[in-house]
């Protein structure tokens, strides 16, 4: 790859061949990266490319399995957050580390308040805080509780905290994702100021148009590898190609167009004009029997929020959901299930399973009521049904009484899907069905999806794994900033086309998307 003219600045940080694996997943597979004093270095990549893992390695959350990190040219071990802090590396995560009920000043100096005779010297603390806040352009008095600040204000407090730690390296994980365009401009002003003071800044963003405005260099990650380092003024198209540039391998067993239905038949799932204030709007789509409809988009585009609302797990403000022509009531999971809708949630352990219950109990969860008469559960009947499904799905286990916590990710996912099959759901919503699952199990899940559609089921599949969406879908809906940005047929859906819709051409931060609340 091309390397831009190296500015003659001092190198602050360098990684060489960083590798990090988690059970079943290679998150980083050889990342080379370097950061100089006084530059903004953008990290770019699809969801799951390894950006967050790299940041966590640099901030001491994860220890790499191989490779080394150099700080000022010397190899260092960043064993924990404290070690990172000592090296002058500060990280601003998407989730802020602030205590909402404490004041700005207390947050800035949490755990290291200036003390006199063991008593916190409030006056000095607030004076110091005032000086820091001035540097980042926050006008609120230091005594203001952090909860009274908006998102942008909290972010500035985080930056001020990093400054107070004399950070030389500032890592920011998607800082603009939650800001309005005005706030983005202010943030960039402050970032430029820090850059001119010699701070090295690592910036993650999904908004390509921000890159020339703020960045100096760009490193692109793909599948856990650094695949290119280019100047920030590289054209967007080239950046997209670098991000997605790989062919879809033969691991997706779906025959393209195999499930394309006749346009005349009634859709199994029809969603019209679904809207939830500040989260998503104008959501309309149909899924027919025998069809897999993929939902692509960046994390935070509102995909999960939409399917949860469709399923009745969360409320919505306006719109209509129909299953096989029958309108579903809002926010009623039981009714959705009774109508033949099933949801396999993105967080398998947190939302899909009873981890310490048996395979039988997990498989029988949805059908518990149907298998009860007069309040009594027909447990032996349920067990029989559950074993039948477990066998059909090929769940590898020691026995039906094994706790699902001890199953592998792929087998856990089969159990979550299985409980809906047991309930004879005809429309399955799969949210990130193969996340954290090893390749072999993935193919099994794909084959299962094919079997289901072949037998007349309809599948709506959210996935952040682009090749998977392209390889498995008959149609692809692309969401961006709470809207459906476009719909592509299997033929037209290329990685470039999907990414172009997903990153959107609209100005950054024009939407008022909040960090959408989940659950209740």
């Amino acid at each position: 790859m091309t390397t831009p003219d190296p500015p003659p600045a001092r190198e602050l940080l360098r990684t060489e061949g960083i590798r990090k694996t988690f059970p079943g997943v290679v998150a980083l597979d050889g990342v080379d990266f370097d950061l100089r004093a006084g530059e903004v270095h953008v990290l770019l990549g699809e969801n799951g490319a390894g950006k967050s893992t790299l940041i966590k390695v640099l901030s001491g959350t994860h220890r790499p399995d191989a490779g080394r990190v150099l700080c000022d040219g010397k190899a260092v071990r960043i064993g924990d957050a404290e070690a990172a802090e000592k090296l002058g590396i500060a990280t601003i995560h998407q989730e802020f580390n602030l205590v909402p009920h404490l004041s700005i000043a207390e947050n800035l100096f949490l755990g290291r308040q200036p003390r006199r005779f063991g008593i916190v010297d409030r006056k000095r603390m607030e004076a110091d805080a005032q000086a820091l806040l001035k540097r980042v352009g926050v006008t609120a008095p230091p005594r203001t509780p952090v909860r009274e600040l908006g998102i942008a204000g909290r972010q500035m407090v985080e930056i001020a905290k990093a400054l107070s730690l004399r950070a030389r390296v500032l890592i920011m994980d998607e800082p603009t994702a939650v800001l309005t365009s005005e706030e983005v401009n202010r943030l960039f002003g402050i970032v430029r100021g820090l850059r001119s003071e010699g701070v090295g800044i690592v910036l993650i963003t999904h908004h390509l148009e921000e890159i020339p405005a703020i960045g100096d260099r760009v490193t692109v990650l793909r599948d856990g590898r650094s695949v290119g380092q280019v100047p920030a003024n590289t054209p967007q198209d080239d950046l997209v190609t670098l991000m997605v540039g790989r062919s879809i391998e033969q691991q997706y067993p779906r025959k393209a167009g195999s499930g394309t239905p006749a346009a005349a038949d009634q859709p199994l799932l029809r969603v019209t004009g679904l809207r939830r204030q500040g989260v998503f709007q104008d959501i309309s789509f149909e899924v027919h029997a025998g069809e897999v409809v993929g939902v692509a988009g960046l994390v935070g585009a509102g995909r999960t929020e939409v399917v949860r609302a469709v399923f009745g797990a969360d409320p919505y403000d306006a719109g209509r959901v129909e299953v096989a022509g029958k309108k579903l009531p809002r926010g009623d999971v039981w009714a959705s299930h009774a109508a033949g809708l099933g949801l396999v949630p993105e967080d398998r352990k947190g939302q899909g399973l009873l981890p310490d219950a048996s395979v039988t109990d997990n498989l029988g969860l949805v059908t518990l009521r149907e298998s009860s008469t007069g309040g009594l559960v027909d447990r032996s009947g349920l067990r029989k049904e559950a074993s039948r499904i477990a066998e059909r799905l090929g769940v590898r286990m020691a026995g039906m009484e094994q706790h699902v916590r001890t199953l592998s990710g792929g087998n856990q996912q089969k159990v979550v899907i299985g409980k809906w099959l047991l309930a004879k759901s005809r429309v399955l919503i799969l949210d990130e069905p193969t996340r954290g699952i090893d390749v072999g199990a993935k193919v099994e899940i794909y084959q299962l999806i094919n079997e289901l559609t072949a037998s007349g089921h309809a599948v709506l599949m959210i996935s952040s794994d682009l090749p998977e969406v392209l390889g498995m879908s008959d149609r692809v809906l692309v969401m961006s900033q709470g809207r459906i940005a476009g719909e592509l047929t299997a033929r037209d859906a290329t990685q470039d086309a999907v990414m172009a819709l997903a990153v959107g051409t609209s100005a950054p931060g024009t939407s008022e998307m909040e960090d959408s609340p989940r659950g209740h």
Partner: protein, 329 residues
């Protein structure tokens, strides 16, 4: 890479087969509390000649009965990931209701029904506060702990109500050897086991306690089930209140004060997890028996009542500590 559990992996290499000593050790491993109970009984049999007499053992049963019945109810709350602190007060209020209705000339069967309805109503209020008011179970039932006790005092004007003969038989002994409280305890234990194992609500309790979000997303109507759960806890508390009042032949507004803590201790000693999703009727019964045997044994051994409290505290801590270690292993 994730390692798939091999099919039949465990079945193929069942270590050492099923020889009796191993079965026993495995049984005790899975029922640690029962092992402790047996050990205590054996130990006390050697240390005190009075312990292993029929009379004394039945005494232990009677002493355990009220705690156990309360604890069966609390098991429902704990299995579903909640807690109920109000059972002692609700028991007293229900007992007072029974006594008061008795003095009002209400037919005795109706008085029983209404007393149990009273406890159920208290539980329903708890359930409403928890599921629709979104109060944490700890807070909702703490409020009920105070309110139900207050109602008991109001209704009785702060004085005990003597129960008529037609009621107090519940506290008596049939044919000189079979105490009715023990029968009630066993019946309630069977009901608890049936509810937990066989009913839709019981299975829903495990699901909600195991993972409330997963239960919700699987179509279980969580809020409605919570109403059922706390109503059941209230009904069980009422039964305990009736047994207690009958044993004393008098309903007392200050009865069962602090019993909620014994009940929770019994459930936890019995192997339930306060995090929810785990718990059994038999475990709770064993937990209540351990507490009763311990008190009885310490009495027989002339240990002062003050020290007894220290020992019971240590046993609760030890039971849960051992359980935690066992689970981690």
């Amino acid at each position: 890479m994730a390692i798939d559990t091999q099919p039949g992996h465990r079945l193929d290499k069942r270590p050492g087969g099923n020889r009796p000593p191993q079965m026993a050790s495995r049984f005790l491993k899975e029922n640690g509390a029962l092992g402790a109970l047996i050990a205590m009984v054996v130990l006390l049999a050697f240390m005190s000649g009075d312990f292993l007499t029929t009379q004394n053992l039945l005494n232990v049963g009677v002493q355990a009965a009220v705690t156990a019945i309360l604890a069966f109810g609390v098991t429902f709350a704990i299995v579903s990931g909640g807690i109920d602190l109000s059972v002692g007060s609700v028991a007293a209020f229900s007992g007072i209701m029974l006594g008061w209705l008795g003095t009002q000339g209400v037919p005795i069967w109706l008085a029983f029904v209404l007393a149990i309805a009273t406890g159920t109503a208290c539980g329903l209020v708890n359930g409403l506060l928890i599921s629709y008011g979104k109060l944490p179970p700890f807070i909702a039932t703490l409020a009920m702990l105070s309110a139900a006790r207050g109602l008991a005092l109001v209704l009785s004007d702060g004085t005990p109500i003597t129960l008529p003969e037609s009621v107090s038989w519940i506290g008596e002994t049939i044919g000189d050897w079979l105490p009715v409280p023990v029968i009630v305890m066993i019946v309630m234990c069977v009901i608890t086991a049936l509810v937990l194992i066989k009913t839709y609500s019981g299975r829903a309790m495990y699901a909600i306690g195991g993972n409330e979000e997963a239960a919700h997303l699987s179509g279980i109507r969580v809020r409605r089930q919570k109403l059922v759960i706390y109503a059941l806890v209230g009904a069980f508390a009422a039964v305990a209140g009736i047994v207690l009042a009958s044993r004393l032949a008098s309903a007392q507004p200050q009865a069962a004060d602090g019993y909620e803590l014994d009940a929770i201790a019994a459930v936890v000693i019995g192997g339930a997890s306060l995090a929810g999703g785990v718990g059994k009727a038999s475990g709770t019964l064993v937990g209540a028996l351990i507490l009763a045997v311990l008190r009885n044994g310490l009495n027989l051994l002339d240990v002062s009542a003050f020290w007894q409290q220290v020992v019971i505290g240590a046993v609760i801590a030890l039971a849960v500590l051992l359980d935690t270690l066992r689970r981690r292993a």
